[in-house]
Amino acid sequence: MKKKLLATILSAAMVMSLLAGCGGTAASEPAAAPAEEAAATEEAAPAEEAAPAEEAAATEEAAPTEEAAATEEAAPAATAGGSGEYTGGTQFDGVTAKEAYKFPVDVKSFQSTYWQAALKGMDMAKEELGVDYDAHGPNSESDIADQVNMLNSDINSNPPGIALAACDTSSVLDSLKECADKKIPVVCFDTGVADAPEGSVVATVATDNTQAGEVAAENMYKAIKDVIAKAESPVRIGEVNQDATALNIQQRGMGFVNKMTDLIEADGKKVAVVGNEFYANEAKKAHSDLVDEASADVVIEVSVPAQTTVELCSTAAQAIMSKSDTIAIFGSNQTAAEGVLAADANLSLLGSDAAAGDVIGVGFDAGSIIKGAIEDGTMYGAVTQSPLMMGYYAIYALTMAANGDKVEDFPTAGYWYDASNMNDPTIAPNLYD
């Protein structure tokens, strides 16, 4: 009897995990057409003369007819993307692989289409360069130990180079030390390792988070500029940051706060930064002319929830949005941005017309909820990273390193998107579901 029961339970569990597995793979096909990616790459990398023809070739089998059209569309959209300084640089010009290298690639997980977009970028680069890669990743981004194990077994196979998106930057330090000892070049992508041992990480291909935060501030300011100018009493801008410890969130958060302060002060208004101690203190270091809340024209309030969950981000957002003087709010990653939207489910304050009293909501990254909110005008817009470009250039950087050439860090841009440009071929491939 006991055995039968156990067998039933086990088989039930298996069926369930099977179902779960099916769910994952069936959903993992992003809608983006390959041709669009080719276009995206061209746009962000005009400096790379050799690229267009090769990329087209790489994607031709998949979508021969759409390809040409998509490339044409890309041209006018080019200005909508990032600024000129993020355009590949000249270091990748004319790179060819000396051998048919095979690089291990350690991603944070395969969960979101974010990582699948990165792998697509890698596929494009590998076709162009005639190299290959082999991607590994743990179940979820919080399975730190699993990733370290994968990284260590990669090191043991003495590869020509490793691409790494570290789940936890401090846990990989020992492994990186080993890479330095064995002279295996490591390219970090998506996430940089700030205190990596000397000689291990040869280049970092990651979003310039400060710039990404600034892009959010610039675009938000366009929408609220007039309201601030005409305001008779102080107004409030909120920012919800998932935490005050991760480097990328810190940089994004401060990029936004500092840029917003610059823009407002340039128009002759006084700014106060209040809320979470870390962000308020950093802001004081960057701007000596900040005032206190009572004498400010514009108050920037930064809130950090106790845990990085949507419900607590939502509570933090609601506490700010409920204040009658709040005119705009920024959620600096997907969780925080969804928290803002969850708060708005009961408040119904978000909208795109600040003059009419709408609160302007700006998000970060994508996901179908944020995309849906931007499409229907609830959320004003958001900043997306470019996983596709990160993957693409990570392989280029690795190839150069394996060739023995010197590689420099390569920051990729955060791109503004809203209802008007989210279907552009330069933007759409980066907007995962």
């Binding site: 006991k2 339970i9 106790a306 969950t309 409920s322 969804e338 119904s348």
Partner: protein, 326 residues
Amino acid sequence: MTKKKSIITDQRFIVLLVIIALVVIYMIFSPEFRQYSSILSMLDFSYYDILMAIGVTFPLITAGVDLSIGTGMVCYALVAGRLVRDYNCPVLVAMLICVLFGAIVGLANGTLIGVMGLPPFLATLCTCMITRGISSMVMATPWPTNKQPGGWFHSIFKLTFGTGRNALKLPVGFLVCVALVLLMEFVLNHTKFGRYTIAIGSNKEALMLSGVNVKIYHVMAYVVCGIFAGLAAIAYAAVVPTVQPGTGAGLELDAIGGVFVGGVSATGGYGSVIGTLVGVFVIVLLKTGLPYVGLQANWQQIITGIVLIGAVMIDVAKRRRMAKEQ
């Protein structure tokens, strides 16, 4: 013992006073908290905690625990949500799958603990890991929103009349939760299953010696817990925009903490579901209310921890007095 004395020393009564005190303090210090929408959001985020807590009250009364409810809840919501997204599964069926999945995991927990004799902490820690592992394989999943087809399930928890800023929103989920609390309070106190659950916690051997098939009732306590984790998954999917894979660890502690604050004995054998309801509200108020009074993250957790110590100390003092009286 006079009746008046028993009300005042009743832990539920003390906890109710704490809730009132918290609400009054928040309302004094935060004009935003006084807004209807704030109360509405607080309730939104309390439903899944309440449902998990109703369920976990039963294992806790048997002197066990169920650590798998948090990750389990997220796992059920993800798997069922994916079926809706990718296989056009009707939302009603998805809801049933949540409950069924919860019951199966509960049955697994119950079998490991009640039949095979594993320590509850260990057994449910394992299912906690397993459900977390399964949920890591599924992609981040939003259930249908209010406006999408299939979004009707939101109205189980919140009825919305009209659109935009002037829409009237009624937190009917609270009534649903109260109804379930009363139902399970009745089950706990007036059915064979309920009484035996309490007996397992207070004196399992005596129950066995009196010829009761303890194993079945022990397993049932975990199945009930699993079913409520499944119901919590529906409530969770209704408030969280996107259910994220691999998450949920730690959410069970809010529910378990709430149950202890509500007066379930830390060593089992005593407790009430009504107590659980008020206990969970203390945790929810601390979790969602403190940001309104401008207290930063770290303080919220410190204060929650202190409140929990207080609640368990009341329990310890109560048992000491009872031992003395005997």
